[in-house]
Symmetry: C2
Subunit: 433 residues, 2 copies
């Protein structure tokens, strides 16, 4: 039983967690992997006082790990784009297998990395990059291998979900964001999380693994949650919906939809019940139907759980002397389809509209006739006299499914009305059917 | 690219679904598997008019498939214990890999089957046996390989969950069961489903794959839902709980708890929201924390989805010329622990008690003092004068966590009171913390 030697690059949150769990559960993990997993090297910008590395060689030079003879798997946990890319390509060049938790790296440089890895016949595994400890890449690439996957929808950013959950109590976005920062749930610069960039990285990877298409992060649409108000959250609830920041990928005949934005989901759907910092990914396959994978999307040991699952996968494959048993994106390279990401105007969705209309006779009729002219059917409409303020009353509308193009044209016409002097609020809605 | 040849034994619900999905998604599946998957033989008691087998050889003798030279994987979808056991052992003896959806077979004869397969160096895969289309065996054996799994709790019988869901509207068990039978959700003889035997088969497998212990179905405790009343469901709801028929496996220092019974779960927990025929499995690992896997637990194509995932796994491994890459129970044979299943009196749980007491002064004090004598602390107690009937008032109690032994002794003492002339209703409760 040959041991498998792991070099850890990066000793931050996830690096520390990986070190601790690999050490604590060493015997159990060997029993599962079929080989002992030994941490042979650790490299990081600085040592950590709270982690006892024993006699494991430590270096400040992460590139040393990619060259070391006593390393079979390079575990990249430094994050970021450029240095991580260099590190991973150097590891591959030197014939090392790679395990990474870096979604930005895979979403942006994945095509290049997988091509290099295929040439060298090494494994690149990235389960920890998507939804932290939830084994959703495995579920998609392996557990649903018999399915044509039709769509994927996920709460894949814990910070955003925490903020939206707290806002249900009527609190404003800015206030909750500050609290999230104080609690350590949000970064000092929250852009990546609240504007949907982090979620778009993960969604890009999910879509490629699910549909068998190349990674196309630069084509992903992102819309953040910073403009969501407690008012809209409350009115969505009155309509029987909840606002979640979803990443949605949907396969269409002529391309794929790839989009992150605030979305109304039915309160009765399980994904509406996923609160706080937790993550969940819904996957719909033509054979299995809807499945959902739920758990912690971040955290030191939760993410380490996914990193180690990948290490065990490599160890099991290495022992079996195989090459990458599961293709990088779940499909063999020549089975990848060149489906393009569709422009947002081509996507189909239902829409929540909030229209601040002047309290004049006939406004409702004008709104309804504009929607009708654009072929938009209304599912619900709400207007309460009691909400009259400054001479304006909000009209809340939930539409049936239409093309985004239709809604945009209708909104242009609505905003041209003299009775409507504010921007129309537009939030997409999904019924998952 | 060598093709992988599959022989399907059994052309019932799951066999038909497997045939249809493998045929419909053949190209996509080949793209994932790295090899074309060809159905080379089908055998079943009778042909099906609604399935066009084309020029695939059909036989009424399923054992022919285990002997055929043109079969790499025998797919056992006939169900039951004895013939299925013979079939699978014959396939293994002939050097075939085996994929099965048969939980009863694995739970009861799994140890023997895995031993035979290990000797022959063939794969035996059984994802479809547990929770239908949900890839939970993969999540546990692979996705959580870095974790010490502490407990597993699942809604793993759709029939039972459907009945309990409908009973929340105040309907009686018998009435809902009849309706479920009419809709095809329940068998004519519903014993396997409503008495927890089917769930115990699945739980046995989950526990062994999670904890690394031999299969011990004969030690599993089962208690059905036939004695659950709408009254208790309503009162559990008043306490903030929902009654679910759960399979629970928990690792203790001296053994494992392995038990299927009606259980109160907090309404706020995601698993309480899993309604109707759907399944969900909660898995708690020391690194990742709680994860949940949700989806359809039965159905032709949903179960086929899991069967095909296993076929693709075998194809990927065969192409890599490996032996069973993932050990049968997730742990290498010499890493299995001989943990025994604990007697039910040793398990720990909270309890819901319903005591029909005569409306006499001092009864509540007597009840409280008996519980206290047995070291049982009360979390909630409810008694409503308005529920007085025939001189009796129900006392509803939710306890803190205690050993089942304590509760049983206390119930004996309670039932010995002259004020209590009926059996005490006792339902276990879990808070998942």
């Amino acid at each position: 039983m040959k041991e498998v030697r792991v070099g850890i690059c990066g000793l931050g949150t996830v690096g520390g967690g990986t070190y601790n769990v690999l050490t604590r559960n060493a015997e159990l993990i060997a029993g599962r992997a079929g080989s002992p997993i030994r941490i042979s090297r650790v490299a990081s910008r600085r040592r950590r006082d709270d982690i006892d590395l024993g006699d494991i060689p430590f270096s400040n030079d992460i590139f040393e790990v990619t060259r070391a003879d006593d390393v079979d798997i390079v575990v990249e946990l430094i994050g970021g784009y450029d240095v991580a890319r260099e590190l991973v390509l150097a590891a591959i060049e030197n014939g090392k297998h790679v395990v990474t938790a870096n979604k930005a790296l895979i979403a942006v440089h994945g095509n290049e990395i997988f091509e290099a890895a295929a040439k060298q016949g090494v494994i690149v595994a990235y389960e920890a990059g998507v939804a932290g400890g939830i084994p959703v890449i495995k579920a998609i690439r392996e557990g649903m291998a018999g399915n044509r996957i039709d769509w994927i929808a996920g709460i894949i950013n814990g910070t955003g979900n925490y903020i939206l959950t707290e806002m249900r109590a009527g609190r404003a976005f800015d206030e909750v964001l500050k609290e999230a920062q104080a609690k350590g749930y949000a970064e000092a610069d929250p852009t990546f999380d609240v504007e949907g960039i982090d979620a778009a990285h993960k969604l890009t990877i999910l879509a490629s693994a699910g549909f068998g298409v190349p990674l196309q992060f630069e084509r992903a649409y992102t819309e953040g949650i910073s403009r969501i108000t407690p008012y809209d959250i409350a009115h969505a609830e009155l309509l029987g919906y909840r606002i979640k920041h979803l990443g949605i990928a949907r396969r269409r005949e002529n391309g794929i939809e790839l989009r992150v934005h605030p979305t109304l989901v039915p309160q009765s759907h399980l994904i509406a019940q996923v609160d706080g910092v937790l993550n969940a990914v819904l996957v719909d396959g033509d054979a299995v139907g809807q499945t959902m994978y739920y758990g912690p999307g971040a955290g030191d040991e939760a993410t380490a759980s996914a990193v180690i699952a990948d290490i065990v996968d490599v160890a099991r494959s290495v022992a079996a002397e195989s090459r990458q048993r599961v293709p990088y994106l779940g499909f063999e390279p020549d089975a990848l389809e060149n489906l393009e990401v569709l422009p947002m105007e081509d996507i189909q969705s239902a829409y929540y509209l909030r229209i601040q209309a002047l309290d004049r006779p006939g406004v409702l009729a004008k709104v309804a006739s504009i929607l009708s002219e654009h072929g938009i059917n209304i599912e619900s409409i709400m207007q309460k006299e009691s909400e009259l303020e400054d001479g304006k009353i909000p009209v809340i509308i939930l539409t049936h499914t239409v093309q985004e193009r239709q809604i945009n044209r209708a909104i242009e016409d609505l905003e041209a009305l003299s009775d409507i002097q504010e921007k129309v609020v537009r939030i997409r809605a999904e019924n998952f059917n």
